[in-house]
Symmetry: D2
Subunit: 359 residues, 4 copies
């Protein structure tokens, strides 16, 4: 129960360390009869892979996903879908110098405190490499959601102090993939890219935010009490490496609002019941109401920096730590497909859970 | 699987509707031999109960918790601890006027969309009354945590635009319970109380924030991937009624920071490894590092307001909705013990999960 | 995680000790819109209750089931259905003499070994009284199954050496409830009743078997690997107090058969595919095939006997133990509704699980 | 939620089809610091592998287990241990003739009924090949149990009408692996081998039984209500392909016994509390009592036979089915390590669950 499984019906488990033989995911609970398109998996893997642009880590990983089981003649069989991604560019030697040192704001210390020893190569299980397996599984969740016309759009809405303030309805979300930072506003994107390039030159890193919109989610997904849809989305996002904050709908801003301002009034529109505003972010009482679901995720700056830092080793002795591994100056451009994948896993699970709502 | 269970080893399930016969909780997985003090349960129930001050709803509920099972001669037996809270002040007639109307920003519409019908009395299962059961269960989790010296302090850090900006280390957290808004800074508390009183007179409501500090949490709690400690805390908090946002450690502010600013450097201190700063909020790689855990939770304004609002009924016809039920002008003072309870449930669960970390 | 929850979607949790304030069950996952008939619950409770005939324990318990939550205007709401059964005839004094003694073949020793202390009154949580909560929950599961015409028939097929050898198809299962031993063959029933009466006079107890037939189960319930339908039924039955053995279809007899004898050949019949024989007991590869499901459950003799027995106390000192509490001479007549209830819980859960078989 | 996960803390998930690229298992919840010996995995794989003797299928499979993750420098890290077994000798062409036919007493029909289509090659996911993954995972569970001196011995106790009637205490269990049928009594073993050889020549198959003894299990494992230790063992065994029956301790024979005969009286022995007899099979009230745990598992004859059988195809039309694939004449010799593996998974899980018994 090391916490490597997500979901209750559409259940995804991941395994693997950064520099082990392979990483991967198993989906147990994908309904039978779903057409599985390996191209769609590859496409999302491309969006997450290292080395994709000048503002990401230059580490190279092919990240080819092999479908080992659960798919027959192009369709899911209802049995576990096993996805295997071999690790190729391992360079374990890069990490021997941190074998017994605790890198600041990494998981080296906490894994050692918890388990007594750790696979120190590239962070082992704590590496963001694990998220490649989530993206692969998420791509299959998206295929299921597509059958129900549910569409997920994530994009970078902040890098350092540069924010994209426009309401998402005023953005052309199709533009997100047209630039390397994945921001749908080309002018803001340019500024963000410039900032990341500067930070990169400094050998430093910078934080950022990703916003996510889910369209066409039917009303009725999510559960009343603990498994509220936004609570599940929140957990999903907070489980992504480097995430520090989550808000949905009006978010923290709601804490400054009055009820009379914040309430979303209902009206009828083309035979559907809709709300006039959407401070609820598409979720009321933990259950989707058919409006767009929208939320925002805050990421800290990547912990690996070139600059020397003070730390301790396993004996508690003072040491210096310097970043030698290849790393990202800013995590958000590569995290866009990860946010989408986790959102897809939550929705796919609740889509299936909702099948038992009524007799 | 209506999502009414929380936790994997220390598992809590709640049941009950606002105006049914009773609500309650069952804890399955409390270790045997724990001294159960009903006074400590009663104390937290008092902190949550309606009618406790002029700035809360005037609804009266005794909220007496009966321990039905799992405790023998004052000690837990290891079998399910069942906690029953009878509903006394029901006044169901207050709600007949909203039988077939959807109140704005309530769960009336989504429950109907999901289940086809709903217990409309006082919001039924969607009512914050459900959280009384969480507080009762949380009180028992706190008893387990106390055995390990783990202490949880929640307090109101914002109401509307009035913020408590001081770092928590500069506050005397013992003062939290000395005022009715539950803010440990008496001057700020006064301003908050004044604001809530004004809002109340307007028949309106206002949002707010609660901050929470967990002291003496040992290093090693939390799991590597999906069940990261902060992801579990985030889900726990987001599952509380009216919560819209969660951040831990540096939170959203981290998105504007550089790695060189944000990283928490390690040093040795009295035979323990500590960090010099604590942007990590006591959690690294999803696992506690022995520093204080701290997080912040954003609440929206209560949806029930006196002012008439436009809405629709079950047929989609336009109607007016007016708040008649007794309600809180601001949810945060009563939510302080709820935040603590949910934090306690997460920690109790992970304390037990950690027992299988090593052979 | 004391093992008090059963099922994955239609999840039932029980709580309570034999001589505590109450016992009960919570069903989390019953679909909304199910008509809940309290009479049907009461009917099954009557079949299980003590004191119902001369061959059961003379302990009296009203076993009234209160529906505390999850039902509104006669229909399930989709939220947890909480069922409460108060303990009335407690007579705790009956048990003080065994406070620190370990009764042979009871759970006194193992509970103490596991938990350090125990509620010794009437066996506490280990008492078969807990099964009253299962019967109440099972009655609701049956209401769901009835909607799909699935019918469950359990009956006593053996008491001591007296066996009902006839194939179930030659029995009139409607006769089961016409006699106090619950055997559908009146002649055999008479012999069984006589044997139990004799055993009772001796202050002794006797074992027996219950057979169970499930009709109209659709093909496709059950899961491929670990959660095979018969494995779940087996676990369900083995979790009932005093059960020592489970077999389905051809059972242990299959171990003496050849494949050519045992295989069930398929044929078409009225547009359905059926098997000519049914050694498979209605389940192939762990999944129902649309034929009758049938299985048999073996019960040991009740451990409480009047005769003095040698044992030890908590200090390991030799002591004598004599049965003083009121007890059943043979558990099987009262266990018939328990077997049905557990079968119903398994089927209700898999009926809902099957809703995610296909896209 | 296709039922491919077993256990709650020591959780094992398997994946893969008989003729896919690979099968395998992931263990999520193995404590850190366990020495993992690949030789011990290989040894159990050898005991299960096809082609090991003249009385098993002649299909050849190398069944090499690759440890992909979760083990570093020879020790478990606490993160998921992923075990991959590539399929080599696939010969898919052998199965094209049954593509649209339902083989009697196989899972072809039920998988199709459930999922709409199926991987028909060698039974796909329903093939006993899946149990190779269980044996690999079980070998690791055994390593954990070895640390606590818990030892599991399974052996063949019946083939067709040939039974090993001796009490297990009179057997030398070390002899089990000295013959190809895996029966610890050499004379009986010889008769069993002869019978299987004859059956094989007839192109037929035969059922059998496996008995299992667990020594040195500490008192206190297993949970009070649904997750009784024997209920979990029962489910584990019933989930193995071809199993039809399970009994523990006195088993079905208990149904003919009196309480005065059946009760196991306690006495003190070398500072431990023991029972004089062991009809309880080492488990009382669902919890281990420190005596040997013993149980028996009944297997049906393998469904694949050479003889032509009548059946139907997917259209319901009458067809003939003839066994062409290579198959076992009797499943029990190869099932011995599978029974042990599943027993090991149950015990490893409950060993860890028991860590939360007490504060």
């Amino acid at each position: 129960m090391s916490g490597s499984t997500f979901g209750k019906i559409f259940k995804v488990s991941t395994f693997g360390e950064s520099h082990g033989l392979a990483i991967g995911a198993t989906i147990d609970g994908c309904p039978a009869g779903l057409s599985i398109d390996p191209q769609l998996i590859a496409k999302d893997m491309q969006r997450r892979r290292p080395g994709q642009s000048k503002i990401t880590t230059q580490r190279k990983e092919a990240d080819e996903v092999e479908i080992i089981s659960g798919v027959f003649e192009g369709k899911s069989t209802g049995t576990p879908i096993h996805l295997l991604i071999k690790n190729k560019d391992q360079r374990s030697r890069d990490y021997s110098h941190i074998k017994d040192k605790f890198r600041p704001s990494h998981a080296d210390f906490t894994y050692t405190a918890k388990y007594g020893h750790r696979d120190y190569r590239g962070g082992g299980r704590s590496s963001a490499r694990e998220t490649a397996a989530r993206v692969a599984a998420g791509a299959i969740a998206k295929m299921l959601l597509n059958k129900h016309d549910i569409k997920i759009w994530a994009y970078v809405s902040q890098v350092g102090h540069i924010q994209l303030d426009k309401h998402y309805k005023k953005l052309n979300l199709e533009l997100t993939e047209t630039n390397i930072i994945r921001c749908p506003d080309p002018q803001i994107a340019e500024k963000m890219i410039q900032l990341v390039s500067e930070i990169r030159k400094q050998g430093d890193t910078i934080g950022g935010c990703i916003s996510c919109i889910i369209q066409n989610c039917p009303a009725g997904l999510g559960e009343p009490v603990f498994d509220k849809l936004h609570a599940e989305l929140g957990k999903a996002m907070l489980s992504i490496n480097a995430v520090k904050a989550f808000e949905y709908g009006s978010g923290f801003a709601a804490s400054q609002m009055k009820g009379s301002e914040h309430n979303d009034q209902f009206h009828s529109e083309e035979n559907a019941i809709r709300t006039t505003t959407n401070h609820s972010g598409g979720i009321q009482g933990g259950i989707s109401n058919g409006m767009d679901i929208h939320f925002k995720v805050g990421f800290k700056p990547v912990a690996t920096i070139v600059k020397a830092q003070s730390s301790v080793n396993q004996l508690g002795e003072k040491v210096q730590v310097e970043g030698k591994g290849r790393h990202d100056p800013c995590v958000v451009p590569r995290a866009v497909p990860i946010v989408e994948a986790m959102a897809a896993l939550v929705l796919a699970d609740h889509l299936l859970r909702a099948r038992s709502n009524r007799i």
